[in-house]
Each structure stands twice: as structure tokens, then as C-alpha cells.
């Protein structure tokens, strides 16, 4: 058991080293740098452009439906890849081919439903 946990000692040492480098760098920076604040230095850094408006903004997540639909088809692809590697192998054949199209049919049903309910048209 000692050996088992002992092998993690390297990880702990590495972790401490990493924290030391980052923390040490920031601390050294703080000690060495001059400290003269101006109004402009204190504004929020926004890629060099002057910040506009409040920090709290609301946006309309119109694209969440598309995100859902993307997830549906991404999951579908997860099933398609292993299927594609075996369906031509001996012992599978037509049944396997039809099964996948039944599955795709279910997904297509969802897409038809979403389309009919009007979520696919961009307002």
C-alpha cells in the first residue's frame, strides 16, 4: 500500500512546484512593480476598447434550440460510427442496416416536430 500511494508523491511534488512558480511569480511582481493608479488603469480591460454599459447584461438565448438539436445529432453520430464499422461484417447484414434507419427515423421525427412547431425559423 505504501508503494501504491508513494507513487503519487511525484504528483504532489509537481503540484507544489507549480503552485510555487505561479504564486512566486505573482508575489515577486507585486513586490517589484511601481504602484501608481490612474482612472484609466482602473477601468475594466475589454480587449483595448472602451467598456460600454453595465457589467450585468442580458442576452436573448435564441440559439439554445439549435444547441439542443446539435446535441441530438452529435449523440446520433456516436452510435453511427461503431455501427458503420460492423454492419458489413458477416453475421450482421440487412437487419442491422434497417435497424439504423429505424433509429434515424426517430431522430427525423424529432426534427419534423421541431420544424412544425416553428423553432427552426430564425426570428
Amino acid at each position: 500500500m505504501d508503494d501504491y500511494f508513494g507513487s503519487y508523491l511525484v504528483v504532489v511534488v509537481l503540484l507544489l512546484l507549480g503552485c510555487g512558480i505561479v504564486g512566486g511569480g505573482l508575489a515577486a511582481n507585486r513586490l517589484l512593480r511601481p504602484h501608481r493608479l490612474t482612472e484609466e488603469k482602473l477601468t475594466t480591460y475589454e480587449c483595448g476598447v472602451d467598456p460600454v454599459g453595465e457589467g450585468w447584461a442580458q442576452s436573448y438565448v435564441r440559439y439554445y434550440v439549435f444547441a439542443y438539436l446539435y446535441v441530438v445529432f452529435a449523440v446520433d453520430a456516436v452510435f453511427l460510427f461503431p455501427w458503420a464499422t460492423v454492419f458489413a461484417a458477416p453475421g450482421f447484414g440487412t437487419t442491422t442496416l434497417v435497424e439504423m434507419f429505424v433509429f434515424l427515423g426517430f431522430l427525423f421525427t424529432g426534427l419534423v416536430y421541431a420544424g412544425r412547431k416553428g423553432v427552426l425559423s430564425w426570428v
Binding site: G91, F92, T95, T96, F106, T109, V112, Y113, R116, K117
Partner: protein, 503 residues
């Protein structure tokens, strides 16, 4: 390599699932609410007919392991329609039929604010999950079916989007469900790690010969698997979603949760412990015993203090879960008898509880109370005063359901269900649990009888005594449940013998 599929065996869930998709498309292409409701009713009815046809024919099994995967082991079928499955599919579909009837006016009626197509789609999807769950004989199919049953229910509970109570209820249900599913999946992964099998007929012998240093792992796995089902049947400590969800959900969904979902949960629990884990009866037996004792005691004590009809039914159904769990506390000692007792109690409970919910739903719809209003306006027990004067038949039915739930004559079926559970518990050597049950039965008498007495009391002055609605569907639902209750009270052996025959 390819599993052959016996379409006759999987017909009940298949019919319901295909109807669900057809309804979703029909709704998208603008079918009327009335048509949607009737198609939904027809699909559940057709599935019930196929279950009866299957019960008359041979016993079937499908999705079995093929050729070299099977080797010299047991047949290892994932989906089995034996007597146990058929009884539970019958119970689930009969209760689902009543739920759809109840929803015809509550949700499908013109002018209701709930989306009818989505409601029926989600309801049928959940029913398909329940039908698969009771037939599943391997851990993967059990989990998938349990989730197919759970996921649509979150959306069903949240369907009243304009109501904060419903959203809160759905979120609670979701969080508790996710946690219990995670715990259960962890347990299944431990069991798989120990036994190397997923089919219950392979897990059971493998658990009998677990090497000594892996025994604690297997025991932890067993207890964790129980957690998922404890959530589904609302056993303490996974019970606290029940009262809020029952109150926040549309009432037909509440009836579904309290009967269909619970019956399926008990079926799953029984399948896992009786078929998969008999070797660890010394672990899950005492755990279920303690769960049963705590569940029934807490449920009954809190129910005593309820003034709202829905919350009272919620806590009472938690307490009833305790009775249903009790026989399983015997562990692997006289297990067949215990399973039969649990099955009989679940079947009888379904009839009486769906009846009580049918009356409450009909009552809520009276006097212009909005079917999907923001707050239950006629929900306190005192509102039921004087119901017998305006609607003697409904009040008599309600009183009968309550007496059955309490387990008093003339509610013979409730009485027999309790006797069967007592006998199995004592026979299995869990006498202490039988004593706890006896005390709890007496506590429960108080609130059931207090409610029943209010039905016949004089109306409380100011409020006009409510009249039941004219709706034919709700009346048919109450009538069907009452007929079932009367038949089973005259001839309780119908259920008891069927349950005894499965083992």
C-alpha cells in the same frame, strides 16, 4: 450475432411507444385535442388487450443472448413476459387507462392551458417505460426503462409553466431523481465489477461465489442499487419530493406518479432483489426492513397533521409504500411468499388509490375552479363536508376507497392485502416489523376515517356544498375504480391467487 425479436412479447410497450410518436406528429400537424385524447385512450386500451391475450397464451422471452455469448450459461433474456410481468403490465395499463380518462377533461378539454399533444406524448412515453421496466431482466434494461419512466415525468410535472409551484416541484423531482440514479448506477457498476455479468440470472449465481475480499464491495453495490428504486417508490429518505410534487403537478400526473410509477418501481425493486440478489438477502433484507418501518411511521405521523387533501394522499401513499416494502424485509428466507405478498399489495393499492385520486380530481373541477388554476381552491379536507348530500354516489365511492386504504371491513380488499403482508412478514421471521405495521395501521385509521366522516357531516355553513361535475370521463374513471374495488372486495382471491401463482 443478431438477437431475434419476438414482436408478440414486446407488443404492449411497442404499441404505446408507436402511439406516442404518432401523437407527437399528429399534434405537430394540427390534430384536435379531442382526437389526441381518444387516440391516447385507444393505444392504452389496445396495449391492455394485448397483455390479456399474452396472459392467455404461452409465456415468452426475447432479446436473449445468442450462440457463443451465451455459452453454457442460463438463457439470459433481457425481456421476459412471465406471470409477474403480465400482472404488473396489467396493473400499469389499467391504472394508466384511468389516468388518461381523468386527463381527458383536465388537460385535453378545449380551453385548457396545457399543451395536449405534448402531454399525451410524454404520458405514453412514461407508460412505455413502466411496461418495459416490469419486463426487464437485466440491469442495463432496468436502468434504461427506469429513466424512460422518469424523464417524461419531470416535463409532465413542469407542464404548468405559468405556475411557480409546478416549476419548484419539477426541480425537486429532477434533483432527487438524478441523485438517486447516480447512486444506483454506481451500485450497478460495483455489482458488474464483482460479478462480470449484467443479466440477473447470471448475477445471482456469481454473487453466491464472490471471493471474501470482494464481499464488502458487493454489499455496498447491493445497497446502492436499492437507492434508485427507493426514490421511485418514495421511501424515506428519498420521500421528500412526494408531497410538493403531488401538489404542484397537474392532478392526472399526480395520480400517475402515485400509482403507475410506484407500481413499476416496486416491480423493479422486486425483480432486482428476488432474481438478482438473493445471495445478499442478509444485507438488503434488514436494510429494506428499516426503510419500511421508518417510511410507514413517518408517512402516517405526518399525514395526521395534513389539512390539504392532496398532501394527505401524498403522505398516505408514502406510508403505504412502507407496507409494500415490509414483506421484502425477510431477505432470502421464504422469498417467494414475500414477493407474492408485495405484488398483491401493490395491485390492490393501485385500485384503491387511483379511485381516491379520481374522486379528488373530479372534486377539484367543481364550481368553476379552473382545471389548471394557480392554487388549489377546493383542496382542504373541510371542503369535503356535505359531499354525501349533493353527490351520494361519489361520496359513497370515496368513503369506500378510504376504508379500503385504512383496511377495515367492508373494504375487504384492503384488509386482505394487509393480512397477506402481515403473514409474509411474520413467516419470514421479521416479527418486530409486523408489530410496527400493526401500530401504524391503527394510526392510519384516524386520518382515513376522519376524512370519510367529513363526507357525511353537515356542510360548514358559509361555503356552498360542492357539486360534482357533469364530465362523463371523470365519472367513468370513478365508476371503473369503484367497480374494481367492489369486485376485489367480494373476491380478493382473484389478486391473491394470481400473485401466489407467479412464484
Amino acid at each position: 450475432m443478431i438477437q431475434s425479436i419476438d414482436y408478440a412479447a414486446i407488443a404492449p410497450p411497442l404499441i404505446v411507444a408507436v402511439a406516442a410518436i404518432a401523437l407527437l406528429l399528429a399534434d405537430a400537424f394540427g390534430a384536435s385535442r379531442r382526437v389526441l385524447g381518444l387516440v391516447s385512450l385507444g393505444a392504452v386500451g389496445a396495449a391492455l388487450v394485448t397483455v390479456i391475450a399474452l396472459a392467455l397464451g404461452d409465456r415468452r422471452a426475447t432479446f436473449c443472448l445468442t450462440g457463443d455469448l451465451r455459452g453454457n450459461g442460463p438463457p439470459s433474456c433481457s425481456y421476459v413476459t412471465d406471470d409477474f410481468t403480465l400482472i404488473f403490465q396489467g396493473v400499469v395499463l389499467a391504472a394508466a387507462l384511468v389516468v388518461v380518462l381523468l386527463s381527458l377533461e383536465e388537460i385535453t378539454a378545449a380551453g385548457a392551458r396545457l399543451p395536449a399533444g405534448e402531454f399525451h406524448f410524454l404520458l405514453l412515453a412514461a407508460i412505455a417505460g413502466a411496461l418495459t421496466l416490469v419486463a426487464a431482466r437485466d440491469l442495463v434494461l432496468l436502468v434504461v426503462a427506469l429513466e424512460t419512466l422518469s424523464l417524461p415525468v419531470f416535463a409532465l410535472v413542469a407542464l404548468r409553466r405559468y405556475d411557480g409551484v409546478a416549476s419548484e416541484a419539477a426541480l425537486k423531482l429532477f434533483l432527487v431523481s438524478v441523485i438517486s440514479t447516480a447512486v444506483m448506477l454506481f451500485g450497478i457498476s460495483l455489482l458488474y465489477g464483482v460479478t462480470g455479468a449484467m443479466h440477473l440470472d447470471r448475477v445471482a449465481p456469481a454473487l453466491g461465489r464472490v471471493p471474501g475480499d470482494l464481499e464488502p464491495v458487493a454489499a455496498v453495490g447491493v445497497v446502492m442499487v436499492l437507492a434508485g428504486f427507493a426514490f421511485k417508490v418514495a421511501a424515506v429518505p428519498f420521500h421528500f419530493w412526494a408531497p410538493d410534487v403531488y401538489q404542484g403537478a397537474p392532478l392526472p400526473v399526480t395520480a400517475f406518479l402515485s400509482v403507475v410509477s410506484k407500481a413499476a418501481g416496486f416491480a423493479g425493486l422486486t425483480i432486482v432483489v428476488a432474481l438478482g440478489l438473493p445471495a445478499y438477502g442478509h444485507v438488503w433484507g434488514p436494510v429494506l426492513g428499516v426503510l419500511a418501518a421508518v417510511t410507514m411511521t413517518l408517512g402516517n405521523l405526518v399525514a395526521l397533521r395534513q389539512r390539504s387533501a392532496i398532501r394527505l394522499l401524498a403522505w398516505s401513499s408514502i406510508a403505504q409504500s412502507g407496507y409494500m416494502l415490509a414483506p421484502l424485509a425477510v431477505g432470502d428466507e421464504r422469498l417467494p411468499e414475500a414477493v407474492a405478498a408485495t405484488v398483491a399489495y401493490v395491485a390492490i393499492y393501485s385500485v384503491m388509490n387511483i379511485g381516491a385520486f379520481a374522486v379528488v380530481i373530479g372534486f377539484r373541477r367543481r364550481a368553476g375552479a379552473p382545471a389548471a388554476g394557480p392554487a388549489p381552491s377546493w383542496d382542504t379536507l373541510d371542503d369535503y363536508r356535505g359531499l354525501a348530500r349533493r353527490n351520494p354516489a361519489t361520496a359513497a365511492a370515496m368513503a369506500f376507497f378510504l376504508i379500503c386504504l385504512a383496511g377495515l371491513p367492508p373494504g375487504v380488499m384492503g384488509l386482505f392485502a394487509k393480512i397477506v403482508v402481515f403473514r409474509a412478514t411474520v413467516a419470514g421471521g421479521a416479527t418486530w416489523l409486523a408489530v410496527v405495521m400493526a401500530v401504524n395501521t391503527v394510526i392510519a385509521l384516524y386520518y382515513y376515517l376522519a376524512w370519510a366522516a367529513r363526507l357525511f357531516a353537515a356542510p360548514s355553513g358559509a361555503a356552498e356544498p360542492p357539486r360534482m361535475p357533469r364530465g362523463a370521463a371523470v365519472r367513468a374513471a370513478i365508476g371503473a375504480a369503484a367497480a374494481g374495488a367492489v369486485v376485489l372486495s367480494v373476491a380478493p382471491q382473484l389478486v391473491l391467487q394470481a400473485a401466489a401463482a407467479i412464484t
